[in-house]
Amino acid sequence: MTLKYLIQKEFLQIRRNAFLPRLIVAFPIVIMCVMPWVMNMEVKNIKVDVVDNDRSTLSQQLVHSIEASNYFIFNGQKDSYRSALGEIEKGKADVVLVIPQHYSTDVAKGLQPQVLIAANAVNGTKGAMGSAYLSLIVTAHVMPQAAAIQSQVSTLLLYNKNQNYKVFMIPALLAIVMMLMTGFLPTLNIVGEKEAGTIEQINVTPVSKWAFILAKLIPYWIIALFVVTVSLLLAWALYGITSAGSLGLIYLLAMLLALFFSSFGLIVSNYSDNMQQAIFVMWFFVVILLLLSGLFTPTRSMPSWAYATTYVNPMHYFIDAIRTVMVRGGNLASIAHQVLALAAIALVMGGWAVASYKKNS
């Protein structure tokens, strides 16, 4: 019963705040409008320099086939490997292809000429993908039989047929939106009451700690629901991306993640003295959770010790599950184990949060 009054108070305070209502509305919009374009790890626009030491018709054919490829931006022909390297150092080129002397005679004799591909691998993914793709073109050019094999292998892409990076990233964006709305905002709220001294007043009233904590969290859960809905609508309106699986599952996952983040935020705020500290601690853990969650990089590529941490990383379960639902169209059975794990972690954190809040010291 007292819960009603406390929740009302929270909503009034949020509404009165000069900044929060704008943040709540603007944040999902900005995230959904900008982030899918930014979080694009699609490798494209690879700039290629060619050093043709052969200068034969055949070598020029190879150059033309690279020029014709949509995948590469043909930067020009250079006289020497050295000058091409200079281009890489200036950042004007990413990959250099060096065609050796006698290229055409070797090919004609059936020998294998050694074509050199030198890629700037500071960005590993870009270097690897660029050189792999370039070598496919070269191999096909040198060995027609290899081209034949390539043509016999077919690939069936499931789910994200257009290879649209946004389809992959948008489910993950929900996680980021949830993180701010249900993690950072309640933390700031509670530390704020601590700093203002109003928490002392609440502590001398008969309000139970459950009621106090729930009253702090429920408004943010409702806001989170609203924000998730807005984000899903925006994904549909802006990018035509809709969920392949059931919406109910998405909301279920979002609620479990909200429970985790808000409990976590509470724990942090219960142990912090001021806002700066709370934000820093929060930020520290959130960055680790995010980086190890598989949001940006595949978890399977991690070394085993790092992979082991994903078993206790709720973000990992959430991102895995939400991608299964939204992209792959999974049902409850396909994400059962993630849901259970997420719920378990969230409940443990919830218990800790309530235990760490003390009305009486």
């Binding site: 019963m1 007292t2 009603k4 009054y5 406390l6 009302q8 108070k9 009034l12 305070q13 009165r16 705040n17 203002a196 001294g197 109003t198 002392e200 007043q201 609440i202 502590n203 001398v204 009233t205 008969p206 309000v207 139970s208 009305k359 009486n360 010291s361």
Partner: protein
């Protein structure tokens, strides 16, 4: 030569006229008082004179320099202690003092004489972090920091709010020695005894100077504000013999330090019990134990019939609490605050709304029902906070320095509310540093060094220690203190 000249100064914040055509002069070496209610424009005036704020109109000179055009010269000559002066909580007492001394181009050793009286009280805690000091101790350290150098002109914005009477006296004695060194002092204060220490005072209200003169002239001319008629308290109507608070051998220790050291007392229903003590004597800690915020180290206590150690949540249902730093949620309106706390104590919607109107009617405050609390003047916030704390008709209400920083007339109104509550049978447990308020209490205890040194009616205490008033009783007892800390 005049140390300060203020000519027709005006200042607006948006539509609010903070200062309106203010003019006065202060002579070299004078102790000048600036008094007036909260929101009268005192702080704006201080800031203008310190060259922190640009006036919209008018001119002023400090020590012969224009505060607008000759900022650097002014700043080299003035000392300023702002109203909400705060220390660096993560630095130790000594580090704070040293820093401010160096900042003003002097050293602690050089300035030691001018701060000795106050600093010696906290010197033994010089290695403690300022953040770990009690409220009054912080204020003393702040005073030491402000006085460690000797500027030509010293501005003090309510320097003694929250400081116990003994320390206040010592502070003003220190100011008197500064005067001997020909330092001009401008100070504001809500305490009448301090007003009387000034040579001349200006009474500022709603941004305008209402009058300038000797303290007696001003206090007589504005007697309705500074010396309102005494309160009628029907002491005959004493409630029953039932004990609402019973405390026996209560101790709270932080490590080896006993903040509250074996206190025992009882408070009867309907009584107004004044819980006095110097800064750091252990009042707040004791109150925290009674209200269930802290667990006692040893001893027993019962509040409204419940054990403070095991049944603190039951106690919380039957008490009200108002602390010095909190009044209400500033970003909620008056009605919303009342509704929130009514709801917390389990009242239903219709009860709340009828009682809200009743309350606001009684306070003559109906027009501000939907005003945000942060835009109310301090005195109103305090009255409102008190009314909210007894809104659910608790058995006992705890008030921790409820009237800090407001003028006598407003405090008188506040005490009228306390009497009304006591009449309705609510027990009042109150701490204060105003000794005139102590006289209003039915019974008083005076705490020194964590122990209760004296207890009885104001009349009994005055007779027992053969002192003319409570102020002297308090000073007499508190001077026996050997420790000063929380």
């Amino acid at each position: 030569m005049n140390a300060i000249e203020v000519n027709h100064v005006g200042k607006c914040y948006g539509k609010v006229q903070a200062l309106n055509d203010v003019s006065f002069t202060v002579a070299q070496g004078e102790v000048f008082g600036l008094i007036g209610p909260d929101g009268a424009g005192k702080t704006s005036l201080y800031r203008i004179l310190c060259s922190l704020l640009l006036p919209d109109s008018g001119t002023s000179q400090v020590d012969g320099y224009d505060v607008v055009k000759q900022m650097r010269q002014v700043r080299q000559r003035v000392g300023y202690m702002p109203g909400k002066f705060s220390l660096y909580e993560d630095l130790t007492v000594e580090e704070n003092l040293r820093f401010f001394a160096t900042l003003f181009g002097t050293s602690v050793e050089e300035g030691y004489d001018s701060i000795k009286a106050i600093y010696s009280q906290i010197e033994r805690f010089k290695d403690r972090r300022a953040g770990a000091l009690s409220g009054g101790m912080k204020q003393k350290l702040a005073l030491s920091c402000a006085l460690v150098h000797s500027p030509s002109v010293l501005f003090l914005d309510e320097p003694t709010t929250g400081v116990d009477p003994v320390s206040r006296k010592e502070f003003w004695e220190m100011l008197a020695t500064l005067k001997q060194r020909n330092i001009t002092i401008v100070a504001s204060t809500p305490y009448l005894d301090e007003v009387r220490c000034c040579e001349r005072v200006a009474f500022l209200d709603r941004g305008q100077v209402q009058g300038i003169g000797t303290p007696d002239e001003i206090l007589t001319r504005f007697a309705h504000i500074f010396n309102p008629p005494g309160l009628e308290h029907d002491k005959g109507m004493k409630a029953g013999s039932e004990n609402v608070i019973e405390v026996e051998h209560l101790v709270k220790a932080f490590g080896s330090f006993h903040a509250v050291d074996d206190i025992s007392f009882t408070v009867k229903r309907g009584e107004i019990f004044g819980f006095l003590g110097a800064n750091g004597a252990g009042k707040t800690t004791a109150m925290h134990m009674l209200t269930g915020l802290n667990q006692p180290t040893s001893g027993t206590g019962r509040v409204v019939g419940f054990d403070i150690r095991t049944q603190h949540e039951q106690i919380k249902k039957h008490i009200g609490y108002m602390s010095q730093k909190f009044s209400l949620y500033e970003d909620l309106t008056v009605a919303e605050n009342i509704r929130l706390f009514g709801g917390i104590y389990g009242m239903n919607d219709s009860d709340i709304s009828t009682k809200t109107d009743e309350l606001l009617q009684r306070l003559n405050f109906l027009e501000h029902k939907h005003t945000l609390v942060k835009s109310l003047p301090l005195g109103w916030k305090q009255k409102l906070a008190f009314s909210v704390s007894i809104f659910h008709e608790p058995g006992v209400v705890f008030l921790d320095e409820p009237t800090g920083g407001v003028d006598p007339a407003t405090r008188r109104q506040f005490w009228q509310l306390i009497y009304d509550a006591a009449h309705r049978g609510i027990t009042v447990f109150v701490t204060t540093h105003y000794m005139d308020e102590a006289e209003y209490c039915d019974r008083i205890s005076i705490m020194v060094d964590g122990k209760i040194k004296a207890m009885g009616t104001p009349q009994e205490l005055k007779e027992m220690y053969q002192q003319p008033d409570m102020d002297h009783v308090f000073t007499f007892l508190a001077r026996q203190a050997t420790r000063s800390s929380d």
